[in-house]
């Protein structure tokens, strides 16, 4: 403190004498040090006043008094500065906690992509913020592959907490052979019991039977997947009626089936994919289809990554919603 007083007095003395830009530059530099050392504005004014009194022995009494008023006025600025510093510290702590929580979530939601079957599977899931409100999970045995894709309406921590519940529900299922309507019914009951009325979750469940090359699916108000028929080179939406999860306990879900031939694939996604926006507005489904078709001959994992990067580009790298894309390609 004494050191600053000396320095400040010297700068002030010089400035009163010469009024050069260099003197002012020195003043600005000392302010950086003052802030670093937590010296508050009222103290700075008090230093100024004391220095001035020493430099000018004939300082006018009225001018001296005026600094006392200024000190009084500056007290709150000093407090605001301190509060600001505490809040920044707090914010950093929260951020660190969020990162830890995101790690926990990632471990929790880890899912193993089934291999050694007649399906080539690609998956990408990227949260908009730290925590993911999307969920994708595989079940599988020797003959069946189950895929769940869910999306909590909303983002961030509340959505992520909800997600853990779906995971718990999925773990309680018997195996990959379970019918999609039964899976949705089980999860719906769990969600209905435990989630507040303001939380909505959409979910798609599909089951692939390797013995029949058959893909059976049902949906709880989820974004319809796209089915690409390699023979006709065309996309169709896989529609299936069903209410969002957690609204009422007894929901009749509709179950449908299609057969996959070599080169056919199913694209499952969350609305983070379909509701991509560019400057010109929503990116059209046709655009997304074209992007996918461009890379239809690539391995499924390369396909999903390509689509993500393309859409990222179209949105100027501003991701608004959690993004999940899964491709099942028959080989």
């Amino acid at each position: 403190m004494e050191e600053f007083k000396k320095q400040y007095k010297k700068i002030l003395e010089q400035y009163i004498l010469k009024q050069t830009e260099h003197n002012l530059y020195e003043g600005q530099n000392i302010s950086r040090q003052l802030i670093q050392k937590n010296i508050s504005p009222e103290e700075v004014i008090s230093i100024h006043k004391a220095s001035l009194e020493e430099i000018m022995s004939d300082l006018d009494g009225d001018v001296q008094h005026s600094f006392d008023l200024l000190i009084e006025v500056m007290i709150r600025y000093g407090l605001a500065l301190k509060e600001h510093q505490t809040l920044i510290q707090k914010q950093q702590n929260i951020k660190m906690e969020m990162e830890l929580a995101a790690n926990v979530q990632q471990t929790l939601l880890k899912t193993k992509v089934p291999k050694e079957i007649d399906l080539d599977i690609g998956i990408i899931t990227v949260p908009a913020k730290e925590m993911n409100g999307d969920y994708a999970h595989f079940l599988h045995d020797n003959t069946h592959v189950g895929i769940a894709v869910a999306d909590v309406i909303g983002k961030g921590i509340p959505a992520a907490l909800c997600m853990s519940m779906i995971k718990y529900g999925m773990d309680s299922l018997d195996g990959a052979e379970t019918d999609p309507v039964i899976v949705l019914d089980v999860i719906n009951r769990i969600v209905e019991k435990s989630v507040s009325d303001s939380m909505f979750i959409s979910m798609f469940y599909g089951k692939y039977d390797t013995s029949k090359s058959e893909f059976t699916y049902a949906s709880a108000g989820h974004e319809p997947p796209l089915f690409y028929c390699s023979e006709t080179s065309s996309f169709t939406e896989l529609q299936a009626k069903g209410l969002l999860l957690g609204v009422i306990p007894n929901v009749k879900y509709e179950q449908q089936s299609i057969t996959l031939n070599k080169g056919d694939f199913v694209v499952m996604m969350t609305d983070g994919v379909t509701e991509c926006r560019s400057k010109e507005g929503f990116i059209e489904q046709k655009t997304i289809m074209d992007i996918i078709e461009n890379v239809r001959d690539q391995p499924a994992q390369e396909m999903v990554e390509y689509v993500f990067h393309k859409l990222e580009e179209l949105q100027d790298f501003e991701q608004r919603d959690d993004f999940t894309l899964v491709i099942f390609k028959k080989i």
């Binding site: 009222e42 103290e43 008090s46 006043k49 006392d68 000190i71 009084e72 007290i75 709150r76 600025y77 000093g78 407090l79 605001a80 500065l81 301190k82 509060e83 505490t86 809040l87 707090k90």
Partner: protein, 133 residues
Amino acid sequence: MNLRSSVDIITEWDIVAARQLGRNEAKDVGFGTVDQARITTAISELARNIYLYAGKGNIEIKQIAEGNLKGLQVIASDKGPGIADVRKVMEDGFTTSGGLGAGLPGVKRLMDDFKIETVFGEGTVISATKWLR
């Protein structure tokens, strides 16, 4: 040595009287201009809270000593509604004025010791001390 004096807070003008008393005592103890301003700002906040939330109360100013240390203690007491959630009130940014340094967290920062005793429905006693260094 225990010099006490106090001001009843009933109207808004009593806030000024409490400040005046605090400043005189602070000068008397030997505080410099900056600390005087800090102490009076703290008194303002406490007196204004009494005036706004309790209707009436009292600000007492005590010169105190502990070993070689001299200090000034401000005690704000009232029989108002009390504060329901002290922890929340002491959080930065909670004040009705939208924060920015004011309110009870500000008083705590301006002074060295800060203690708050409040019973919901019965009243509040806040004591804050500044030591002369």
